[in-house]
Amino acid sequence: MTVYVKGVVFEGVDFDDPNSWKIDAYIKRGGYAALKKILQEGITQDAIIAEMKASALRGRGGAGFPTGLKWSFMPRSFPGQKYLVCNTDEGEPGTFKDLDIIVNNPHALIEGMIIGGFAMGISVGYNYIHGEVFEAYQRFEAALEEARAAGFLGERILGTDFSFQLHGHHGYGAYICGEETALLESLEGKKGQPRFKPPFPASFGLYGKPTTINNTETFASVPYIIREGGQKFLELGKPNNGGTKLFSVSGHVNRPGNYEIPLGTPFSELLEMCGGMRGGKKLKAVIPGGSSAPVLPADIMMQCTMDYDSIAKAGSMLGSGAVIVMDETTCMVKALERLSYFYFEESCGQCTPCREGTGWLYRVVHRIEHGQGRAEDLDLLLSVGANIAGRTICALGDAAVMPVQGMLKHFRAEFEHHIEHKNCVAPGY
């Protein structure tokens, strides 16, 4: 279920209309007006980037890096080929927003990428789509065909000198390919594993050329910003947290789904939109930003507003906006075991701390869950975690550790109970 509240990305999309994704419908609701405005009114590259900066749009993939700033890093005068890449390798457990964008409003993404290409002087773009959502990939390809036929994409767009080629590419489902440099490796046809940085993609990206990589939702927000102005986008949210954001709400709520709401909306309001807790149970904890974000207990979460700064202040992160809601029946040891297994399974294996450490974390949590934990195990988990975090090539190591740290920070007693009594405090178990 997707609920549209105050939209940017889903502005005007009719989720009940099977043709709403198509280019005609998109144009009818103001689509491609931003691109036309740029090309026909002669808006400069600098002006676009300034508008992006003014919007305070922050990367929607999870890191929250200011998009305008990232665009300004691209060496526009670089004489060779440059690339624009969209990261639709949405693999973070709990996150399912980019899939909805591609399926329901693919032209917003396409228009956003074309504008990005224009702003940074890039002529070729790729959209790397997660391998397990093939229908979405097909939808994207169909939308590309529409855009090409309408003259918005390809050679000499709208009769100007600006040309931009955009290609879809579907991966094979490895979580690590959502890491931007692993994505580039995979796009090049190699095994998807992260590159060490520096050099960063802005100087050494796809095929070694300057490359800008943004998330699907980020690109899909661009047309609105250009059309309506950065200031208006910013005002939708709050300072430093401009615009609306898609939240993928899952877990123990009555109406899980994607909710596009202004950044800064209180969590309690979001929970209400989702129809409250399922079965009237009590809220126990929330993972506010995808599986790698530290868990927050109910009392802290209920005080938070849904924006980068508020969640960070509470000790977690907004991440990709995947909100995993857990009620009082949830066993936190079991939950952590599942999360740790994911990172163990998805570690690319390239660098030592993550390859060896994620398995170690999982095995310790596993034995606690299975009544074989030892008193020293919790300190061991934190110690192993500390040896992984910040020591790896990419952030997967950190992502594996943060859930462990978060759980032990807020629910240590429950783990101790498991170790001592070999059973669970949660009533559901």
């Binding site: 399974e345 998805e346 660098c351 030592t352 701390p353 170690w360 910040g390 020591r391």
Partner: protein, 769 residues
Amino acid sequence: MLEIEIDGKKLTVPGGSTVMDAAHSVGVHIPHFCYHKKLSIAANCRMCLVQVEKAPKPLPACATPVTDGMKVHTHSDMAVTAQKGVMEFLLINHPLDCPICDQGGECQLQDLAVGYGGSASRYEEEKRVVPNKNLGPLISTDMTRCIHCSRCVRFTEEIAGYQELGMPGRGEHTEVMTFIGKTVDSEISGNVIDLCPVGALTSKPFRYSARAWELSRRKSVSPHDGLGANLVVQVKDHRVKRVLPLENEAINECWIADRDRFSYEALNSEERLTKPLIKQGGVWQEADWQSALEYVVHGLKDIIANHGADSIAAVATEQATLEELYLLKQLFAGLGSQNVETRLRAADFGLKTQGATWLGQSIVDFVGSDAVLVVGSTLRKEQPLIAQRLRQAVKKGAKLAIVNSHGDDLLTTLAGELIVRPDQLVEGVLAVIKAVTEARGVAAPAHIDLAGVEVTDAARAVAAVFEGKDKTSIALGNLAQQNPRYAELHAAAAALAELVGAKLGVFAAAANSVGAQLAGATGAGNVFAQPKKAYVLLNTEVEFDTANGAEALAAVQQADMVVALGSFGSCALEHADVILPVSPFSETSGTFVNVEGKPQSFNGVVRPLGETRPAWKVFRVLGNLLGLENFGFNSSEEVRDLVLAGDVAAKLSNAAVAPVAVKAQAASGVVRLGEVPIYQLDMLTRRAPALQATADALAASQLKANAATLAKLGLAHGGNAQVKQGAGVATLAVALDAGLADDVVRVAANLPATRALGALTAAIEVTQA
């Protein structure tokens, strides 16, 4: 230049340096596994994490570029905590089976674990077990020990040129492996054994035969190709147990070819001779040295008395030392004969140069050329490490082109490739000359006749590699030197070099090819064509070391007396009259002069086996017994100093004494492309069982031709064919080789199956078998 501080030491380093480079430059050791100076940076082991001031977390020294004013702490609490954390992770799944691991005692993980590992493990779960892989006859695997540093993977891709190893799988399931069903077949594959920081990849022939700390390490020089790779020969109980590279950046860098590494197996072969043998009444009798040497002296004197001094001849391979060859030549000079020859695989002796032919420059300068043309060479097999260095040069922007008789993949990018029949190599070079004259509007020298030469696009592409390049080189390979029109080929290549301003070089086929010329052990030409009454063979197996084994064998078989000096008996037993067991390179002092004209002397690394004697001592005694003057040498060094007196460089020259006229000739009919397989090069490689089990060795006896030629001859890939040259016949398996010109049949020489055949580049009859 950037100013930085490492552990309180101030230093300046060039921009672009990494923290690891900077630390090395001031002698600060940062622990590491995946980092290797010759490989790309992987930054995956994380062992080299160091503290950089103002950085919130530890950074990998190998991948962190130095910035001005950077302050690095390699042994601070933050750095050591990070390093110890990584070590713990590396050890949790490592079997710690050091007592039964061949790497034990020379293992980087073991060494660093002493400094950074805990005394007990906090990991109590089951350890990972990884299935072993079959990498072929040279490399043994214990993959459970692998720490995933990826050095071996990067080596095969970056240095050897083809990614024969990869790392499929994710997370804990990551495994180093080959392509399915394939082995590691590179001619320089053994280097992954040295690169592996743990006992995952170890030497198969050496496996379980000694512990690292039992071995003495002695310096030596490779006796195979002309590069002169520097070796560390490891010995135990007067036996050579293992051979490793000795780093020499100017020659072999830190690598050696598999031939250099594994040929030592022959030194311990059952076929080694340990006592002089004399054939009496058709039966071999063991003899003492005195009797055997007197037998030789009397025999040679008798034959000279009855048939004249020209009735005796000596041949030696270019693997013999400078000292041995000089004394052999002096011995024959003393007997009044100039019949000494080492160019046993040559077919054309018409070329006379002003000095010893050589690379024309140093190896480093050669591979530093902006453009290189190689003429007539199976480069990867003839010169494995020069091929490797050219591969690196191409990556840095050099242009490489070939004029050759086959299109074997050099595992690098070629800017030009002209493939011709082996009897048309001269015409191939002429086509390039003509392309140059047309492109530049210049004329070829008068002795180069370009009439009738057709310029193809391929020839133009080869010619174009020299365009706009300053430092250019042309080198003639073994196939060129073995060509029946070598003098013309050399003249054409020299003319091309002159036209484009390139340096001309001649690759050295063997360890002492240049030294043999300096010792004067050349000049007799083919001493088998007109059979002699007596032959002295030094380290020569006539069927396997000559261009025309059938002819050479017939010559020695009809001789009245054959004296064989060698380390092995097997071939000589059939046709010699006296066998004198002499030392291989590992048991004698001596000198090889490599392709760049650099003399490299070495000592024996083990004592001679049984009653074996160094050949230079044998020749000295023979000289004394014959009453010859100037044979009073007390050491091999005295011999060397005499031969190399003065400026060696002045004795090297690729310039012809007089211009050789070159004119294009037509060729037709089926022609043999004969070449010496990589592991048939010399007595040692032929007797190294592991090398003989490699894919290269197993494929050597195939007959190869392109599809059109196979069809024309009624042959099919996978079938059999019979080939005939003169009286020699061989039945060979047939394989497709799309890189050959039409009517070319590639049949390797010097193999047991093909030794009865005739000349390397000549007509050959092929029929279905």
